[in-house]
Amino acid sequence: MLRVEDLHLSFGGIKALQGVNFEAREGEITGVIGPNGAGKTSLFNAISGFYTPDRGRVFFDGDDITALSPDKRAGLGLARTFQNIALFRGMTVLDNIKLGGHTRLNTGVWQALRYFGAAQREELELRREIEERVIDFLEIDHIRKYPITMLSYGLQKRVELGRALAMRPRVLLLDEPVAGMNREETADMARFILDVQEQFGTTILLVEHDMHMVMDICSHIVVLNFGQQIAAGSPAEVSRDPTVIEAYLGAAA
């Protein structure tokens, strides 16, 4: 579904990615792990279109999307969340999630200025869909009118997931969905991620440091270290791989 081929990315002399190859298979959860500075977020930025790779290509559902801008990639059905929450703080939860529906709506400026008619129909349809598909699903109906600034960190993460879900994504990139959460919040989030996969059949690619969660929910794991892909495979294979153990724990004495 989402494939990267021989991806190279450098910032001046720093080689952030050096030949990353993997595929996130349709309907599965793929995890990307690696120590700090391994290039995980750079990989995400290259996939979502903020960085142009020096070499290599990104394929989405078989099409080469390496040259597309981020908003075009979003239009194809590529959604993501950010490591440090990137919600719109001046808006309510509902408006944030509604923004996820942006690419699916057609209201033009003229219709928007008049509102009544086509724009209203479309807005109400979007509202209904979001309420039923996202707000109910993520159990955030009690906070839908709250401004983002009033929410706890864990809830903000959940709203960000909601905004991505409102895009009806075919591929969802989650950048550290449970970073900084307590065990309860982590369990909730893991459950929501599994529910998304199960109910909507979304292909999910996630970066995470919480090894327990990654090993539990991912069916395929890619390990990066210093921009190089050092291992890939099922959780069981990866956790036995000596290069991975070395990267995480240092060489055995």
Partner: protein, 356 residues
């Protein structure tokens, strides 16, 4: 005083006036406005028209600066374009187009021309932000005024001498009194506010706010920065163009110096005082920015009598008091009067329970 706020449909929940207090306030204001048009004194009508024209322009600035987060110090240029476009169109097309339908063509022409130039001026916003953009738009203001004053175009623009605008004629109804003009300004002002509010409850307005709050996050949701930044510029310029056209109709006499930097700054100042990025912000801001100098004038007159020596002190004092007011707002309430009003309404709504 917690009001019943039960909604049983999404349509009811998406309404602008979603409770009875808001309905009462808005419909009451419209009624008062109608009565004011009929019975206001000539002086009050003059002040009211000044406010209405300014309001439409500030609503435009609000779309760009308040909602999209792009600062412009050059919107006086679009007011100028609106004013000149409507007048020049009128002068050129007289005899070709019947007078009775002229405004139906000249007003849209002015608005579209301003919007088109707005897109052009908005181009730097794709590269630069904040202060740098403000300076780029500032340059646009100077260029437009320079072109209007240029000898080469003087046969059409009147150069430094300015132009005289004929009163608009709607199917034979000539709005040749200030009171009639105020009626037109009031109707268009209310429609302008409503249109801006509508914009903000659809995808276009949400995209603007998204760009203001976090542009990379907006891109990831499929919002094209290029398209929406330019759209925002076009809409705000169109509002200013309409304000300019009404300005020309109302004062019947336009001079290039009326649209210089001072006007651009006044528009931004009104928005800051009223409340950036809030629907009612421009309304509060314009009321303050027009009324305060008037009040200072009246109080000053009352205190000093009409002593000739003191009269020349009035203008500078007025400006100082006005500047002090602006600084006070920036320090104490950067979100403007709208925020103060919101806080009072919230407290009233919760009374007699928690305050907040």
């Amino acid at each position: 005083m917690i009001n019943a706020n039960l909604k049983s449909s999404y349509a009811a929940d998406e309404r602008v006036l979603d409770n009875r207090y808001k309905q009462g306030f808005v419909y009451g204001s419209i009624l008062l406005l109608a009565l004011f048009t009929l019975f206001g004194s000539d002086y009050a009508i003059l002040i009211g028209s000044q406010m209405g024209i300014l309001l439409i322009a500030v609503v435009g600035i609000n779309v760009l600066t308040g909602y999209t987060g792009l600062v412009s110090l050059g919107h006086g240029a679009f007011v100028a374009i609106g004013a000149y476009a409507v007048t020049i169109f009128n002068n050129v097309a007289t005899g070709i187009i019947p007078a009775g339908i002229m405004p139906f063509l000249s007003l849209p022409f002015a608005v579209f021309l301003a919007a088109a130039v707005g897109v052009l001026v908005g181009l730097p916003s794709l590269r630069v932000k904040g202060l740098y953009l403000a300076v780029a738009t500032l340059a646009a203001n100077f260029i437009v005024i320079f072109l209007i004053e240029e000898e080469l175009f003087a046969p059409w623009t009147g150069g430094m001498v300015g132009l005289t605008t004929n009163a608009p004629n709607f199917f034979g109804w000539v709005l040749d009194t200030k009171r009639e003009m105020f009626g037109l300004i009031a109707v268009l002002g209310v429609l302008a506010l409503l249109a801006a509010q509508n914009l903000m409850r659809t995808r276009v307005g949400r995209a603007f706010i998204a760009i203001r709050d976090r542009d990379y996050s907006a891109e990831i949701l499929g919002i094209s920065l290029l398209r929406y930044k330019l759209t925002s510029f076009a809409i705000s310029a169109a509002y200013c163009g309409l304000a300019g056209a009404l300005f020309a109709y109302f004062y019947a006499r336009i001079l290039p110096e009326q649209f210089e930097l001072a006007l651009s700054l006044q528009l931004v100042a009104a928005l800051i005082v009223g409340g950036l990025g809030r629907t009612m912000g421009p309304v509060f801001g314009v009321i303050v920015i027009v009324l305060v100098p008037e009040l200072i004038k009246i109080t000053f007159g009352a205190v000093t009598g009409d002593a000739a020596g003191m009269a020349q002190l009035r203008a500078p004092l007025q400006e100082i008091a006005f500047g002090a007011l602006l600084v006070l707002f920036l320090l104490k309430e950067p979100l403007g009067i709208n925020q103060i009003v919101d806080r009072i309404l919230r407290a009233a709504n919760r009374w007699p329970f928690a305050r907040g």
